[in-house]
Each structure stands twice: as C-alpha cells, then as structure tokens.
Symmetry: C2
Subunit: 728 residues, 2 copies
C-alpha cells in the first residue's frame, strides 16, 4: 500500500523543520562554549566584523542582480512569450508569477542558509580555539557541530523550500483539475526555485572564492615571500582578511553550492518522476524529497556520533561518522524504495531502484577515496610533485598540472559506470511506457539522490575546514603555547582534507545531477512542445558549434576567475606594501597594522570582479539559444537542441576542468605540506620555495575557479530549465 501524498508531504516538512530546530539547538550548544582569552576574542571579533561586512555587501549586490533577473523573467514569461497549449498553466500571467516567485524564494532561501551557516562558523572558530586548550575531542566536536549548523541549515532549507512550495501549490489546483494531475504540473512551476538557488550560489561561490584567494595569495606573497614573516603573523595587515576569506569562501560559498545542488537536483528528479506517474503516482515524484528527509536524520545521527581519543587521528573519527551516515542513508533508501515505489505492473521495480540508489552511495564513497589518493601526501601523486620541486618551481608546476589532469581519469570512469549502470538497472526494472522499458532515466535520478543523501554530513565536514583553519589562526595570532597550536594544527590539517573531499563530492554529484537536469530539460522541452521529444544530434553542425561554444565557456570563465583573483590580490599587495612603508612600526611589532583597510580592499575587489564572469554565465546560454533559434530555418526546434548540446558539453568540460583545478590545487598544497614535514630539506629549502610557488598557483585553482565551476555547471542546467520555453 503506497502512502498518500499528504503523508509524504508531512514527512518532508517534519524532517526539514525538525532538522532546522536541531540546527538551532546545535548552534546554541556551540555558542555556550567558552570564548577563551581576551586576545583571542580581539582577533575573532575582527574576523566576525570583516566577514559580516563582506556578506552584507555581497548580498546587497546579489539582491540587485536578482531583482533584475526576476523582472526579466516576469517580462519574458508574462509579456514576450505567447502561451502554448502544452503550458503547465494556461494563463501566461500565472505562469510568470509562479516562475518569478519561486526564483525569488530560491534566491532568498539560499541567502538565508549561507548567512546562518557563516554566522555560526565565525562564532565557532574562537570556541574551537578555546576548546583546544582543554582537549582535542572538545575542539573536534565544537568544530564539527559548528559546521553541522551550516550543513543542516543548508540541506533542510533546501528541502523545506522545495517541499513547502510543493505543499502550497498542491492546494492551488485549478478548478476542475484532478489533484494528482495537478501534482504532475507542479515541478515545472517551481523550476525557478532551483534557478534562484544557483543564481545566488554562483555569485556567493565566485565572490567568496575571489575574496578568499585574493586575500590569501596577497597575504602570502607580500608576507611570506617579500617580508619573510610566517603565515598568520599578526604583523601582516592582510592576515585578518585572509581569515575572513576562509569563511566567506569555503563556508558561505560551498554552502550555497550544495544548497543549490540539493534544490536543483530535487526538482530535476521530481520532473523525471512525473514521467513515471502512471507507475508510481505522486510517490514517484516525492521520492527524492523523502530520501533527502531520511538523509537529514542519518546526518544528524552521524554528526552526533563523532568523538575522538586525544592521541588518535581526528580524520578517523570523521570517517567513522561518515560511514555510519552512509549506512543509515542506505537503510533509509531501502525503506523509501520499498514503501514508495509500489507498482502492480512491475513488482520488482522497487529493488531495482534501491540498487540504483546504492550505486549513488557507492559513488560518493568512491569519490572520497579517489580525492584522498590525489590530494594526500601518503600517495604517489603528491609525492611526485614534491619530488619535482627539487629542480625548482617550473618542474613543480609542470608536475602539478600533470597530476591535476590525470586526476580526472578515475572520477570520470566512476561517473560513467554509475550513470550507465544505474540507467541499465532502472531500465531492467520492468517499468514500461507504451511497451518500451522506461525506468532508465529515473534510475539515474535515484542514484543521484542516493549520492546526495549524505549531503548534510559532508557539508558539516566541509565547514569544519574553515572553522578549524580560523581556530588555528586565532591560536597563532594570540600566541598560545605550542601544545595548543599542535592540536589546532592537527585539526586544521584534517580540515584541509575534508575541504578537498567535499569538492570531490560536489563534482561527482554535479556530474550525476547534470545528466539528471539535462534529462529534465529535454522532458520540459517535450512538455512545452506538445509531447514531441527532441534528440540532441551532434552531427548537425549547429549543434556541434553550440557544443564547442559550451566547452569554450568553461575555459573563458576559468580564465576570468583566475584573473579576478590575480587582480584583487594585486590590490592587497599594494596596500600591504604601503602600510609597511608608511608605518615601519608594524614590522617591529610596536604598531598595530590596519587590518580593516585590507578587508575593505578585498571586499570591493571581490565584488567588482565577480560581476563580469557571473554575467557571462547568465548571458551566454541565452544568446546561444536565441541566435540558434533565429538561424534555425525549417528545423524549428534547433534553438532548443543547440542549447542542449551547449549545456551538455559545458557540463562535460566543466566536470573535467573542475576536477583538474580542485585536485591540482589540493595536490600542490599538500606537496608543500609534505616538504614541510622535513623531506627534501624541509622548510626554507629551495624545494620548499618551489613548492610554495605551486601552492600559490593552486590557491585560485582549488578555491575560486574549481568550486565556481561546480556552480556554473548547475546554473547552466537550471537557467536552461527555466528558459527552455523561450528557445522553442
């Protein structure tokens, strides 16, 4: 017996609000920890002030842009476009309102989730620093739970948004329409939510990424290289900006990234569920949201289970928590599939789709291993980079680029196996439409949801990174004893690993999701085209041309992201040099540097620099769609087809480029750390100097361009999903 729609909606809303309440409780728990010494508080306050000032200005900029886009959406749908008989609602004004409002709601929710996460993490950092004065376990738990606030808020807000929209809209069925039929229309009306989320995510990740690396590169070049002072030295005027950057980039940025992942992929999976409506009813549409609900519960349990012994590797504790979460998610997947995917015509369907979802869980675990292999110095790749540093920066760079490129191999093979196997398992499920097996795409969708089930935990681990990084900075700058620094150093090093893991996870899920969203796009085009589906035939020169443009966009965007960091870093360097020159007391330690000036300069620089690449990503698919529509001649769907080709190749190239940038950057970072353990002459050796060059090059790779590409991929998917009707 399948559960009713209201039961499922209740579960979804209960799980998401429950998780939000739990996140608030966790936040209270974190805030109740000790805030350490006054010296610590002074630094922490400066970080808080800088981070909040940046976020306020960033959100202001994004709000202006979002309102602009909302107006364009409303005009495009409500005025320019004529209604088609196959539209989900007949009034074009109503359609415009649904799309525009869900866009704004998506943007708003993403902003709230990002803000909440960062609000807690900039308060957790000092508490982790203070906890490190007592025990490693206390520090670990404080950091992870601080991160969990962000993780849970992100996933729960996304679920509440999509589930809530579904709940509200399901009450607004047009008169005379069957409730179940109306339910199949809703996913098409709320695609704007995913677009809103990716819109904010792009700018948050891009702006945050530029901020964090401009501050980092600037501080390092002028501090470590020119002035010869250590990292996180309080004499460096850019040091606070650097610590602020960890929060606005890694924390708010990645939060927005995964917020939009879950939002967009939920909607995409729901659209594919609509196709199987005759087999599974509304349960098939709501399955993705139910899986995310169970995933939230699993993540909470996983997070609370983490504890470590004083002398153990904290990474082991985090890994245990992750495996527990993955196991619990698998149980949840079993329950959800068995309970929801009931079909008399296909009695074996449920366990086929359960297998698909396990493929997703396995993929997420595979990505964790692969990322570790390419970015930890226990393994060959990082060691070869360290080895190449002996002959100077040039060979270090060549080897790092080579490792980055190579690191795309295993993830791609994993993705292809996951995609093809879940498709084939789904196709074999026995679900038929018009006599043909029809469960294949839904199989890939369920696999994606299986991968995203552990999202809450992954995100908590990720935000753990900037919190411990900040805690280390606070401990260093407030001149705590060696034994405490040692604890925060250990946590910081684990944080570097978890940050790398999250990026691997984000790419993997983006890749699976891309296919999902792409299929949703084709379904939507079919829907708006009166049920006639299109192919994406690369042998048409126009489609191939659009594909080339899609690949090129990824290179162009990456170039802009790297340049933006370079330019913003340049302004930091100039400012720090000015301070050192005008106030010689700073270097002697007798005068306090002007931290706020640096924070201001990076803020302005990052916000200015994010607009052009962001606008490019928004405008490009629209231009491609409209130009190819204009030259389509008799082939009137050529515009939609060209956009599809554009989107898919941008996705393929984006996945490859993001893997290259993230892993290359991570490997360079750890090659430097490996040398710092004493190999090849250790710190201050020529090999170390060469490795520092690689590390600096890797910074904008792994923290600006790479992560922004995850968002780019998904933004392209959601923007085409929202604008599909305009290209037909």
């Amino acid at each position: 017996m399948q559960p009713s729609q209201s039961t499922l909606v209740t579960i979804i809303l209960a799980a998401s609000t429950g998780a939000l309440v739990f996140a608030v409780a966790l936040a209270k728990w974190v805030l109740a920890r000790s805030t350490g010494t006054p010296e610590m508080r002074k630094i922490s306050d400066a970080i808080q002030e800088g981070a909040e000032a940046y976020l306020a200005r960033q959100y202001k900029t994004i709000s202006v842009l979002a309102v602009l886009v909302a107006v364009l959406l409303a005009v495009g749908y409500g005025v320019l476009r004529t209604s088609a008989p196959s539209d989900p609602v007949q009034s074009r004004t109503a359609l415009a309102i649904y799309i525009t409002l869900s866009f704004l709601l998506g943007a708003l929710s993403s902003g709230i989730a990002g803000f909440m996460g960062m609000w807690v993490s900039i308060r957790a950092n000092i508490r982790v620093a203070a906890a490190a004065t007592t025990s490693l376990n206390a520090a670990l738990q404080t950091a992870l739970r601080g991160g969990a606030v962000s993780g849970l808020f992100t996933v729960a807000m996304s679920l509440l948004g999509v589930g809530g929209l579904f709940a509200v809209l399901s009450m607004l069925a047009p008169s005379g329409m069957d409730a179940a039929v109306w339910a199949t229309k809703i996913p098409f009306l709320i695609v704007g939510y995913g677009f809103g989320a990716s819109f904010v995510a792009l700018f948050a990740q891009l702006g945050g990424g530029i901020y964090t690396k401009a501050a980092d590169v600037g501080a390092d070049l002028v501090g470590k290289v020119e002035a010869g002072i250590p990292e996180d030295d309080p004499r460096n005027p850019a040091v606070v900006a650097d610590l602020v950057g960890d929060n606005v980039g890694d924390c708010a940025g990645r939060g927005a990234d995964l917020f939009e992942s879950t939002a967009a992929e939920n909607i995409g999976a729901m659209i594919l569920g609509v196709v199987l409506f005759k087999s599974f009813g509304v349960a098939g549409i709501l399955l993705p949201l139910v899986i995310m609900s169970f995933g939230l519960v699993a993540s909470v349990i996983g997070i609370m289970s983490v504890r470590t012994k004083e002398d153990a590797d904290p990474m082991d504790a985090l890994n245990r928590g992750y495996y527990l979460t993955a196991f619990l998610v698998s149980v949840g997947l079993f329950v959800a599939c068995k309970w929801l995917l009931v079909s008399d015509a296909a009695p074996d369907a449920w366990w086929h789709f359960f297998l698909c979802s396990l493929v997703g869980v396995a993929t997420s675990i595979a990505f964790v291993f692969i990322t570790q292999y390419y970015t930890e110095y226990r393994y060959r790749p990082v060691k070869t980079i360290a080895d190449a540093s002996k002959t100077g920066p040039a060979t270090n760079i060549i080897m790092g680029l080579s490792v980055g490129m190579e690191s795309t191999v295993m993830p791609v093979i994993t993705i292809v196996i996951a995609l093809v196997s879940s498709f084939m398992i789904g196709r074999a499920s026995g679900i038929m439409i018009d006599g043909a097996p029809a469960g294949g795409l839904y199989g890939t969708a369920v696999a994606t949801m299986g991968m995203l089930g552990t999202c809450g935990y992954i995100l908590a681990m990720d935000v753990f990174g900037p919190i411990t990084d900040n805690a280390g900075g606070i401990v260093e700058m407030s001149k705590q004893p060696e034994s405490i620094r040692d604890k925060t150093d250990r946590l910081d090093s684990v944080g570097n690993t978890t940050k790398a893991l999250t990026k691997g996870y984000a790419i993997g899920s983006a890749a699976l999701a891309a296919f999902l969203l792409f299929s949703a796009y084709l379904d939507e085009v079919k829907n708006y085209n009166g049920g006639v589906s299109i192919h994406v035939d690369l042998s048409k020169p126009q489609v191939f041309g659009a594909a080339l443009l899609g690949g090129m966009l990824v290179f162009w965007f990456s170039s802009l992201a790297l340049t933006a960091v370079s330019k913003a870093a340049q302004s930091v360097i100039t400012e720090v040099r000015r301070q050192f020159k005008e106030r010689p007391g700073i270097m002697k330690g007798t005068e306090q540097p002007d931290y706020a000036a640096c924070v201001d300069i990076v803020t302005v620089g990052a916000l200015k620099a994010m607009v052009l690449p962001g606008a490019l990503v928004l405008a490009f698919p629209i231009i491609v769609g409209l130009v190819f529509k204009a030259i389509s001649g008799e082939d009137h769907l050529l515009g939609a087809e060209a956009v599809a080709g554009f989107l898919m190749i941008a996705t393929v190239v984006g996945i490859l480029m993001a893997g290259f940038l993230n892993n290359g950057g991570g490997a360079w970072d750890n090659a430097k750390k490996y040398i710092e353990t004493g190999v090849y002459g250790g710190k201050k050796s020529d090999a170390h100097k060469a490795a520092v060059v690689g590390d600096t090059v890797g910074d904008p790779f792994k923290d600006t361009a790479g992560p922004s590409l995850h968002v780019l991929i998904k933004l392209l998917s959601t923007i085409t999903l929202v604008l599909a009707p305009l290209f037909i």
Copy 2:
C-alpha cells in the same frame, strides 16, 4: 562541361610530382650554398648526427608498432569480421588487403615526407648561418626555401599518395561494375591511408615533442638556472641535444602533423563528395585533390616571391608571401569550383561552394591574426603576463594559464562561424537529395579545403622556425661577431612567430577537419549499415558517458605528455650534473663536453616515453566502441553511436586544450622575451627570473602536449573511420 576523371587525375598527379621535383630542385639550391667556417660545420655535423640517429631509432620503433597494427587490421577485417552486403567490396579478404595496404602506404609516405624535410633542414641550418655573414635577404631566402622543401614534400607526398591510390584503384574495378560507381567506393577503401598517416604523425609529433622539450627544459634548468651560463653556451653538454630537438620536434613532428591533416581531410572530403555523386559525379569526389593541386602551385609562387630589405622586419616579407599565396589559392578555388561543380539541377551551386571555400581562406587568415594577438608582446595578453612577473613566478603562472584559457575564445567563435556559415551556404546551394537540401556538409568540406589550400606555404614558414633557431645556435656556439648574431636573432624571433602561427593554423584546420571526418564517419557507418543513418543522441546516458570519456582522454593524454617531458628532462639534468662534476674542465672551457651522451639519453627517454600515451590513444576508442557495443542491448548501433559521441567530445576538448596549451606556452615565451627587451628591470631582474619559470612551464605546453593534441584529434577521427565497421 565537366572535366573527365582522367583529366582530373592527370592534373593531380602532375601537380604532386611537379611539386616534388621542384622541392628536389630547391633542396639542391639550398645545398649549393656556402657551409661557412669549420667551427660552424663541427656544430652542424653534431646536430646532423644526433638528429639522424634519433630519427632512425624513432622510425624503427614506429615501424614495429605499425606492423603490429597492420596485422591487427588485417586479422580484424579479414578474419574476425563477417562481410556485410553493404561493404564496398564483397570479398572480406580483398577489403582487408585494401585497408591494410593503404594503412602501410600512408605510414610509409608520412615517414618519407618527415625524413626528407628534416634531412634538408639539418643541412639548411648551417647554410643560413653562413648566409647571415653576407646578407639578411640571403639568410631569409635560404631558411624559407629550406623550409619549403619540407612543406612541399609533405603536401605533395600526401596528395600523390591519395591521388595515386585513387588512380591505381580506379583501374581495379570489379568486373561488371561501372567505373563511376566504383569511383564512389574507392574513398572507403583508402581510409587506411589517412589512418597510417595519423598513426605515424602521432608518434613522430609526440616523440619529437618530448625529445625537444626534455632537452630544452633539461638544458635550461641545469645550464641557465643552476650553472648560470647563457642559452646555447657550448659548455652545456645538453646544448646539442637541444638543437637536435628543434629539428625532430618542430620540423619532423609538425611535418607529420600536417601531412596527415591533408591526407585525412582529403579522404574525408572525398567521402562527403560521394554523397553528392548524383549532382557532381566524380568531379565532386576529386575536387579536394584538385584544390590541393592548385594550392601547391600557389605555395610555390608564394615561397619564391619572398625577399626582404636588409633593414626591414623579415616577418613583413613572410606575411606578404602568405597573402600572395592566399590570393592565388582563392583564384584556384574559383577556377576549381566553376569548372568542376557543374550541375544542371543546381546552376548556382558552384558559386555557393566557392563562397564556402573563401570562408576557409578567411578562417586561416583570422587564425593568423588571433594567434599573433595572443602570443606577441605588442598586445595586451603577453603584456599582462610580463606585468604579473613583477610579483614573482606564482602570479606569472596564474596569469599565463589565464591567458591560455582566454585564448580559446576567439578561435572557437571563428570556427563556429566558419562551420555554421559554410554549412548554411552549402545548404542554400540548390543541391537536393530526395527533395531536401543536401549540400551543407559538402560546404563545410570545401571550406576545410579552402583553409588547407595554403598548407604548403604555412608549413614552409613553420620549418623556417627550427632552421633559423639552429642557425642562431650555430652562430652563437661558433662565436661569430655581434652583427651576424643580430641577423640570426632577428630571423629566430620571426621563426618563433611563424611556429606559433602554424600551431594556430593546425588547430583551426583540425577543428574544421574534425567535423568533416566526423561526418565522413557517420556516412561510412550509414554505408556499412545498409544506408540507414544514425544520430548521435547525447541524451542517451551511454552516449553521454562515452562523451565524458572522450573529454577525459584529452586530459589524460595531456598529463602523460607533460609527465613524459618532465621525466626525460630529469635524466638530462642528472647527466649534465654528472658531467660538470666529473669533468670540471668543461665549465672552465678547457674540456669539450660529451654532447653525444646527452643526445643518446634524450633519444632513449623520448622513445620510451612516447609509447604509453600513443598506445592509450589507439586503444581507447576501440575499447569504448567494443564495450558499448557489448552492452548495447536492443539498440544495436549503440556502439557506433557511442564512438561518435566519444570522438566529437574528444575533438571539442582537444581543440580547447590544444589552444590553451599552445597559446599559453607561446605567450609565456614572449613575456620573457618582452622583459628581456629591458622592461621591468630586463635580464637578470626578479621579474625575468619569474618569467623564465613561466617560459619553462610553457615549453612542454606549446611544443609537446599542444601539438600532439592536434594529431590526437585527427588520429581519433581516422582510427574510428577505419574501424567503424567493427563497432556496428
């Protein structure tokens, strides 16, 4: 009145043998020049010896591999595969013999062309050095005509091979088959020629590219950086290996690259001509070869026209020659189209296709401009890299990578415009098949041929590069006076530009050709599939998966190429260090270094390193085709379709990556040269040191990985073209 088949074949064979005879005459002219002083000859002899030893061993390795592949082809076609009714010849033994023999002939011709070109260029170098003692014009003409031997030999051998095969096979029509019908089968029987050519090209370019950069990077790191001696200093034991490298990489490698371009693209265009057989008859099939014949004549005139004043920029002279060639090619295109493309049903077709061919000429000129913009220091991109060098190697690298990525934008837009516009013009030509416009793809083919028309001249300019580079090295090492060095320096700098231009041209033609070869592949699949055509539908997960794998192959291959250089360079460094340590007289100038030892080490290293990436490129498409065929289920063409997706995305990503690597590398090189003109402190400044790091990173970018990718793209096209029947 359309010309007869025998008239056209006569023109083609006359033009190609005529060009070969002319090339021999040019070679004699070059060899008759003065060979300078005994000191010069000593160095030149060492280069000759090293280059010939390397080429002999490289060809030995390639021969073994080629025979292996030939056996596999013969077994695959003659034993494993069962005949299909739509095969071009019914006996599978005959089919196997045609394919295998044309493969071996293609491989052999490519080898001969590469060898001849290098044979002359390693003899031209010293004559250019000697000519520089008299006048700039003499040196310029000697270098260009030396290069022209290579250029003309390459293009003429390729044309003679394809034209000759056509001529021979046209006499072997099966009894009872109409000669014209048989002519439509021939292109499918000689696809092996293109594969043989790309097979040799891949290993020649890869091995040569690894050789040249391992020697260069190794010599620079241990000479310039460690020992502090200038470039081309005779005390550096790796200096001869470095000069040998210029020949085996830039000269033999690029020659093989463009040999296979013209061969493969001729065959691809002929296959598309078969489609329009009913409109144009055999003339449409032979048009590409006629265009190449006219192009050869135009190139000869262009080359002989080049002369310079003593105080003028030699680049202007080369540009004038290029524009003359392009103009003459355009005239030839007009004649060819007007004369051959006669169709009563479509009287306007000829001028439509003439327009398409002009699109090709315009594309080649656009690529020349774009490449100059991104790699010359008169323009913004190189200047920003130089500027970023002020803050050290890290910012230099970041900016260089950013410029490289950005440099893909304009070429891609150019390619897309060329592709789509030539398709649309061709479609509007009035040629109809079954009532639908059918001239589109032929339009893109003619555009490609228009672009390749100037190939002979371009290649002469390219080989001009290593010849002048070598001449400069000989002048430097034999300690000639400043005024002579100045002349060779000017020529060398022009040679750097022409080398960069050729790479841009090679990418552009590879991109246009890729679509051409891809269309030929689909036509071939259709032909072998009994006339039923396939689409390449990216919305199938398997095709998308194969596409992802195609993109990944490019990253993997690039990684292997970079690592290979790094490893081989490492062995050079170790050897040079050993010599410096064991024989302290070398640095004092009292003892002669052991050049031959370094040459040997790089030879062994390069040959060893080229096997793995080469094998990967060969094996990967076969594995993809067979695996996806195996899991195809009811969709029995899925194997062929997946290979098509794989091929197209590998092509897209390959074009982007090659542009990134080539232009990034070129820009780094010239950023260093820009600083050496005295900007930012000039030579020995910190900015210069940073720029040297960028230049070193750029070396394997622009001379190993990038150029090898051009060949990879085309090898994938030809291998899939040859193996298509196995995937069905």
